[in-house]
Symmetry: C2
Subunit: 218 residues, 2 copies
Amino acid sequence: MPPGTRARARAETSRAILDEARRQLAEHGAAALSLRSVAREVGMVSSAVYRYVASRDELLTRLIVEAYDAVGERAEAARDPEAPAREQWRAVWRAVRAWAHEHPAEYALIYGSPVPGYAAPVETIPAAGRVGVVLAAIVVEHGDPSGVAPWPEVLRADVLPGLPPALSVPAVVAWTQLYGTVGFELFGQYENVVVDRDAYFDAVAAAAATSVGLPEKI
Amino acid sequence: MPPGTRARARAETSRAILDEARRQLAEHGAAALSLRSVAREVGMVSSAVYRYVASRDELLTRLIVEAYDAVGERAEAARDPEAPAREQWRAVWRAVRAWAHEHPAEYALIYGSPVPGYAAPVETIPAAGRVGVVLAAIVVEHGDPSGVAPWPEVLRADVLPGLPPALSVPAVVAWTQLYGTVGFELFGQYENVVVDRDAYFDAVAAAAATSVGLPEKI
DNA sequence: GGCCTGTCAAGAGCACTGCTCTCGCTTTGT
DNA sequence: ACAAAGCGAGAGCAGTGCTCTTGACAGGCC
């Protein structure tokens, strides 16, 4: 038996657990995620799962990190640096919205209310900012501070490096607007209010683009 | 024994259950809310609680309605119709934020991700719109459509009666921004990003006021 | 080769949950 | 006064997270 057998088997089991957990998360939501049922589906007994995952909270944490990475990757992939600024902006917004519609439970997990008695651990912090970074990159390259209204300086200076100070606050505001719009749509607050969700979303995206000084396409 | 004893006792028990449930919600979060532990604290056995509440989900639904009403009431109380438009606007925004800080679990319950396998029932819909109605009322009275950029018409016509069509979409956008800003702050996304949260929030509120055509105070 | 140590899956078990059903007791309406 | 309805208590079922112990297997060392 070649050495490394054990390590490979462990890695495979680990992946199987994570995959099944994400499947159950998508199907029944975060609170219904059960370690025992994951174990059943993977084909082992619940206590064995604890060899791979310290607790249910740790399993959730791993899913959170994976979800942040997935939506961040999607946002990065949607951005074509050669395209006009507003097209880039709209593509990233749409990508985040599309990802949220495809993975509502995961979106809720990362951007919704934190699960019960669960404090987001440190390891989620780096992954959390990826969407914001993509948006900021577009603003860094194409944002024109001259047209935008002044904002107070209320941010940490080092958080969005390269961003003109006049645009850093509107960038955070725009990021918030993206989150809020997708969240409201996903969690049902636009029910019976907004009828043409696609058009509404694009309009909000366009307004946000203006607010961060992206040039109008003429 | 005077008649009505039973009805009064029932009302009192009902209140006690709701109060204890809200207490536990505030302390441990929605997912940790347990009917059995509510029963223990109220001083009865768990099966007896089912005489008052059909299920755990129904208990959550009642808490949701109460929370919507509470934040709505707070928003209504914060609005002084005699004050200048932008002051009214800011007061309502601040009231919602303050309520959210005082009742984070309840805010998460109503505006955060829906709890596991739980579909918001019909009875929550009327209560849900109260904050939006207060904001809309300010815009109806003081909003000036002339200065605001045009938006596509994507809303249900009857949802915000009295609102100039040109201002209805920005009003929904502003409402979304309020929700997103409070949510991001509450759920930790502004950690290490926004340092002066008060100033940031007021700035966002002011920008939103402009977007719905409230007159600048000169 | 043989052994020994560390890893693994499995099972039993504890304390907890939501929910149902049955049992008596008390209050209510007739 | 009597039947009907409402009520609290208890037992019980199926499920959960998590711990501990047991026995089997693979890895590296001699």
